[in-house]
Structure formats: structure tokens, C-alpha cells
């Protein structure tokens, strides 16, 4: 499979890229830092990715570069089967409330810029006859919750977009995979106390790769979060106002 990944240098993106590499897939990396990209490219080559693993700079905050970056990916891979987006910003609710500029950037990157990037990716994939668009949203987007008001809102918007784009373009051969990670132990969540059911990036990556292969539209990872969120969605507002979850 030929896969372009935005966000493969760190966290869950790194874990997904490694899973794909170990089965010999061809990868092209997109990210902000050229040096980081080439270090990750070597790592993935050593882990079994088809040689060579190429990369190009692509920053969610600079949408002008999206088209060129995706074109480069398609050209170097000689065809694109899937585009994976794991890049996103994260900050705690307290940190965001204390900093309006940071809030603006997070909402912008996690929603508007990510959607914009997905639109360019969708166009490319459809122009090539179809393919898979796999995007990391979050369980935080499933219901407004006190600890993730702003982050959750950015992900709720993204989830809604991914569902709509699936409905509209499924018939033309676009497969959309919306990944909703629960709490996963990565550097993004490093400062936080892990709740029960916290997942490991590698286990999440395994589920994600299976979802990409099968075109599963929504995947919770670890799987238990699907049931947790089902419950959360059923809780009355009066309860949600009180609990800290």
C-alpha cells in the first residue's frame, strides 16, 4: 500500500507508520520539521518500509503548501492509496482558558486547517480513482465535556466533517476512517494522570491499520472507549454538569 502520513514523526503517527513499515508498505512523510522528517524516514526504512521513504515539509498552519506536498507524495510513491492525518494540537482546558491566542490556534489547526488538508487529500485520492482517508479525531468530540470543552469542540467539528465526507463520496470510491482514540500514553498526554483503560500507542496503531485495510468508517481505540462513550452520551445533562470526566 502507498501511504502519505501527516504527523508520522511522533506519538500515534509514529506508531501507525511503524506498523505499516513493518509489513513493507511504501510511505511518504509530511510534517513541519525537515530534520525530524528525515530521521523518521531512516527509522522507518530500517523497520522494513519500501525504500526509499521520502518526505516533504507540510505545516497545518500553512495551507498554501498542502497541494504541492500531496502532489510530491503522489509522485514519489507513484500513486496514493491512503492519506493518514495524525497531526493535531493539544492543551488542557485550563491552559486554553488562560490563553486566547493558543485557543485560536488550536481551534484553527485542529478544525479548519485539518479539514482544508483533508479536502485537498480527498481531491487527490478521488482523482486517482479512490482511496482511504484516515484521520485522527478524538473521543473528546463525542460529547461536550468539562475537561475538554475547547479541544473537544475542535474534534467534534472534525468528526462531523469526516462523517459527511464519507456519506458524500463513498460511492465514488473514497473510504473514510475516523479514528477516535481514548486516552493513549503518548508524549501529548505525558503530563496527565492516565485514567483506567489508557491505551498504548502500539495497540492503537494495530487497530488503526486494520481499520485502514477494511475501510471501517469509525474506530475507537482502545476498543473499550466505544462503550465508555456510549455510556457518556446517555448521561443526563444534570449529571454531566457535575462530573469531572
Amino acid at each position: 500500500m502507498n501511504v502519505a502520513i501527516l504527523g508520522a514523526t511522533r506519538g500515534m503517527g509514529r506508531a501507525v507508520a511503524r506498523r505499516l513499515a513493518e509489513r513493507g508498505d511504501a510511505l511518504f512523510l509530511l510534517g513541519r520539521d525537515r530534520e525530524e522528517l528525515s530521521r523518521s524516514a531512516v527509522d522507518l526504512e530500517q523497520r522494513g518500509a519500501a525504500l526509499p521513504v521520502g518526505s516533504a515539509v507540510c505545516d497545518l498552519e500553512r495551507p498554501a503548501g498542502f497541494v504541492t506536498a500531496l502532489a510530491q507524495a503522489e509522485e514519489r510513491l507513484a500513486g496514493l492509496d491512503a492519506v493518514v492525518v495524525t497531526a493535531a494540537q493539544f492543551a488542557t482546558q485550563e491552559a486554553l482558558e488562560a490563553n486566547a491566542e493558543r485557543t485560536r490556534r488550536l481551534l484553527d489547526v485542529n478544525f479548519a486547517r485539518t479539514v482544508e488538508f483533508c479536502e485537498r487529500a480527498r481531491e487527490r485520492l478521488l482523482a486517482g480513482g479512490g482511496g482511504t482517508l484516515c484521520v485522527f479525531s478524538s473521543v473528546a468530540g463525542d460529547r461536550g465535556r468539562r475537561p475538554v470543552v475547547l479541544y473537544g469542540a475542535s474534534k467534534a467539528g472534525l468528526t462531523a466533517y469526516l462523517e459527511g465526507v464519507d456519506h458524500k463520496f463513498h460511492g465514488e470510491g473514497l473510504r473514510v476512517v475516523c479514528v477516535k482514540p481514548g486516552f493513549v500514553k503518548t508524549s501529548m498526554t505525558a503530563g496527565l494522570t492516565p485514567p483506567p483503560f489508557a491505551g498504548e500507542p502500539d495497540a492503537v496503531a494495530r487497530r488503526v491499520v486494520r481499520a485502514i485495510d477494511r475501510g471501517t468508517p469509525v474506530v475507537y481505540a482502545p476498543a473499550i472507549w466505544r462503550w465508555i462513550l456510549l455510556l457518556i452520551r446517555l448521561l443526563p445533562r444534570a449529571v454531566m454538569r457535575r462530573i469531572g470526566f
Binding site: R10, G11, S40, Q46, G48
Partner: protein, 440 residues
């Protein structure tokens, strides 16, 4: 109030502290007193002294290059040995040194200058390391090797993280004829016989180690199983690469009473008698041979919440014949009960200023922590001092500073280099406060 976060080594004796984890190790290590890897050292080597934060390397785990001509690997310090095994054994390469568990980082293997079953021929891991990229206490990043900053290089091999934060390293992997092991094993009647058998096997076998029973008494003291091995030739080996082993897990901490003299005696006796009287030979999975304990995840939980420690020392047996037996007799005398003790002969001393191995016999003894542990450790250390041996810092929790200083004749040389690179001793661990007298 939130619960105080705790950290511990493999021995599960907790201390206040927390980890800073990031793919960017240099960013989180800047300004903290210590970097740790996967926390497989038993005691307080990887723990902060003052309950603060330490950097943790496991997310900094990229392979940065491999040259299939020379076998030279460059990697970030957090790469786990298990990852390396999985990726490189099938390609015909192995880490030159494999400690008893593969859940260690390359940085931890450098910092403890680890040894394996091949110490008598291949020395410690440090012998095969070519270059280190180190973040110093003053914030400077330097590359050191045998050619540049060679003193820093030598002090960092086995330096237990006290000279700098290891960010990256270069090490020469060894070519292997197949990823499988040809192994032979046999019963050994007692500790003196063990010393002789290890010596006899040394010239024919690259890998040797023994497991012995320290509860058997009299003639049988130190009886056990000697294992010898070599990489299987391509003709001997199964066609398929060895699949990574599935692991069972100990799901929770056992109650404290499960491990007692009786259960340990039973286990040791069964383990000894499970091996047939006659030598056994055949092909074995490399993980089974090198990392047998990894088959059971969290096996340390069998010790319960009190935790445990390991006392590992090396005794110059050739200078003082009978030293190993005297150590076991002292252990029995002090009432220490240990299951599955490990015995191994060591070869030449390495370059690391504070590296553990020296020529002689190494003995490792697991002991439950709690009430009576200190007098047992003190007894063992008295013997180690008397025989001219030394202990392994990566396993130690309870040694007293005066015993350590008496054993460690190289300490002044180490401190001298440390003074040059970190005069304030900004870098320290709970262990270095305990044994080297670092102030918190």
C-alpha cells in the same frame, strides 16, 4: 490532595518521583538531574534523589542508521533491545551483548555497561560502542568516543547516568549465522564444580551461564544447571525466523507470604530435578536462551508489595579459590533464601571507569526486601570486601556507602572526571546520593 507520584526500579521499592517523557529526549533532559530508560535496574539507580522529575528515554526510540557492510548501528538512546532483536536477528545481526532481559534501552545498556552470557569472550556492551552523543550538565551537547573527549566516553560507559544524558549512540552489531541458538545444558553438583565447569566451557562456548540453588546445603550447596550455547549454523537452524514469543503475565502483586523458604526450596528442587540427569542438547529459540524471564511479564510481582532486590557481585576466584562457595555459605549463615541464583564467569575488565565486571566469578542473588534484608546484604558485602570483589550498581538497593567505597578502588578516578564535566554534581540519582555522597 493528589497522591504523590512514585517511581521504582524493577525491585518495586518506590520513591517519590515522576518521569518526563518525550520523543525529544534532549528537551526533557535539559535541567533535570537524571535520565532513565525502561527502569529495569533493580534498585535506585534510575530514581531521583529529591522526589523531583527525571527524564525518560523510551519515546526517543528511532534507529538513525545501519551500515550492512560494517554492522554499525546509530540509534537514539531509548531504542529497546527487544525492538533491535526483532528487527535485526532475522537480518543476520545481533546486539553484541544481550543481558537477561530485552526490556532495556540502549542508553541503559551503555549507562550500566551491561554484560551477557558471552562476557568471557566479548566483554561488556561498552567494548562495542563507538560513539556517544551526550547532553552535559551545563547544557552542551558533545559527541564522545575513544578519539574525542575520551575520558567522558570511558566514564559514561558504566557511569549510571552521572556524567551526562546519553541521547544517541553508535554500536557495532555482530553478524550471526542464523537467529537460532544451539544449546547444551547439564546438571552440576555444587558450587565448586560450577566454577570448574564454567572455566572448562569457556574456551569452547561463546555463551555460558548457570542457575543454581542456594538453599541446598552441604555437598549440594550451589548445585544447579549449566547452560552453554552458540548461534546455530544456517544448516542446523530451522528455516523460519524465530517468531517473537507470546508472554504470560503475573496479573497482580502476590501476597507477601507466597514466597517463603518452603516455596523457594520447592521451586529450586523441582527446577533442578526437571533437568534430566544426562546432558541435554538442541536448537532453542533465542529469546528462551537469552531472555528466559521475559516469558512472564511482571514476574517481579511474585514478591508482593514489599518488593525485592538483587545482590550481584564479582569475586576474583582465580586469586582466591573458593570465594564463590564462601559467599554462599555466608548467605546460608545469614538466613537468606533466594530462588534461582545466577552464576557466570567474567573475562577481562572493560574500559568503563566504573564498569562492574572484572575477571572472576559473578554471583547474582534475588532477595525479598523487608525486615531482615539489611543484615543479609551487609554480610554478603563483608565477604565481597574480604575477597577483593565488587558489586553491580545496576542491581543494588541496600549497600552501605562505606562498603561501596572500600570495594571501589576506581571511585576517585571517576569522581575526578565527573568534577571536570559537572562540578556542581547537578547530575545525581538516589543511588549516587546514597553511595557517592552527592548532596540532594
Amino acid at each position: 490532595m493528589a497522591k504523590q507520584p512514585m517511581l521504582s526500579g524493577w525491585g518495586m521499592i518506590g520513591r517519590p518521583g515522576r518521569e518526563l517523557r518525550s520523543e525529544d529526549l534532549a528537551a526533557v533532559a535539559a535541567g533535570v538531574s537524571l535520565t532513565r530508560g525502561l527502569g529495569r535496574s533493580y534498585g535506585d539507580s534510575s530514581l531521583p534523589a529529591n522526589g523531583g522529575a527525571v527524564a525518560a528515554s523510551p519515546l526517543a526510540d528511532r534507529i538513525l542508521g545501519f551500515d550492512p557492510e560494517s554492522g554499525r548501528l546509530r540509534a537514539e538512546a531509548g531504542v529497546a533491545l527487544g525492538d533491535l532483536n526483532r528487527l535485526f536477528w532475522p537480518r543476520g545481526w545481533s546486539s553484541p551483548v544481550l543481558p537477561g532481559t530485552q526490556h532495556v534501552t540502549l542508553g541503559g545498556m551503555v549507562a550500566a555497561d551491561v554484560h551477557g552470557k558471552n562476557h568471557h569472550v566479548d566483554g561488556t556492551f561498552g567494548r562495542h560502542v563507538r560513539k556517544l552523543r551526550v547532553l552535559l550538565a551545563n547544557g552542551r551537547v558533545v559527541e564522545c568516543s575513544r578519539e574525542e573527549e575520551s575520558e567522558l566516553f570511558r566514564a559514561t560507559l558504566g557511569g549510571m547516568g552521572l556524567t551526562g544524558h546519553i541521547l544517541e549512540l553508535e554500536v557495532d552489531l555482530q553478524p550471526i549465522p542464523s537467529p537460532w541458538i544451539w544449546s547444551e545444558s547439564e546438571r552440576i553438583a555444587g558450587v565448586d564444580e560450577f566454577v570448574a565447569a564454567l572455566r572448562a566451557a569457556a574456551s569452547d562456548w561463546p555463551f555460558t551461564v548457570g542457575w543454581f540453588d542456594a538453599l541446598a546445603t552441604g555437598e549440594k550447596l550451589g548445585r544447579g544447571i549449566l547452560m552453554k550455547g552458540r548461534w546455530a549454523t544456517a544448516e542446523e537452524a530451522p528455516a523460519a525466523a524465530p517468531a517473537p514469543k507470546r508472554r504470560l503475565a503475573v496479573p497482580f502483586h502476590f501476597p507477601g507470604w507466597t514466597l517463603n523458604r518452603l516455596s523457594i526450596w520447592l521451586f529450586n528442587t523441582l527446577y533442578f530435578h526437571k533437568h534430566p540427569r544426562r546432558p541435554r542438547a538442541g536448537i532453542v529459540h533465542p529469546e528462551t536462551f537469552f531472555h528466559p524471564l521475559d516469558a512472564i511479564r511482571h514476574w517481579n510481582r511474585i514478591y508482593g508489595r514489599r518488593g525485592f532486590t538483587q545482590h550481584q557481585c564479582v569475586l576474583p576466584e582465580h586469586e582466591n579459590p573458593g570465594a564463590a562457595r564462601r559467599l554462599l555459605e555466608d548467605l546460608t549463615g545469614a538466613g537468606g533464601a533466594s530462588f534461582l541464583c545466577v552464576i557466570k564467569d567474567c573475562g577481562e575488565e572493560g574500559e568503563g571507569v566504573l564498569s562492574f565486571p572484572q575477571p572472576g566469578i559473578s554471583i547474582a542473588i534475588d532477595l525479598p526486601a523487608g525486615g531482615g534484608i539489611q543484615p543479609v546484604i551487609d554480610t554478603l558485602n563483608r565477604r565481597v570486601r574480604a575477597e577483593g570483589g565488587r558489586i553491580y550498581l545496576a542491581k543494588d538497593t541496600f549497600t552501605r556507602a562505606e562498603d561501596f567505597r572500600a570495594m571501589e578502588t576506581r571511585l576517585a578516578a571517576f569522581e575526578e572526571i565527573r568534577r571536570r564535566y559537572d562540578p556542581q554534581r547537578t547530575l545525581h540519582s538516589a543511588q549516587s546520593v546514597r553511595l557517592l555522597g552527592d548532596a540532594v
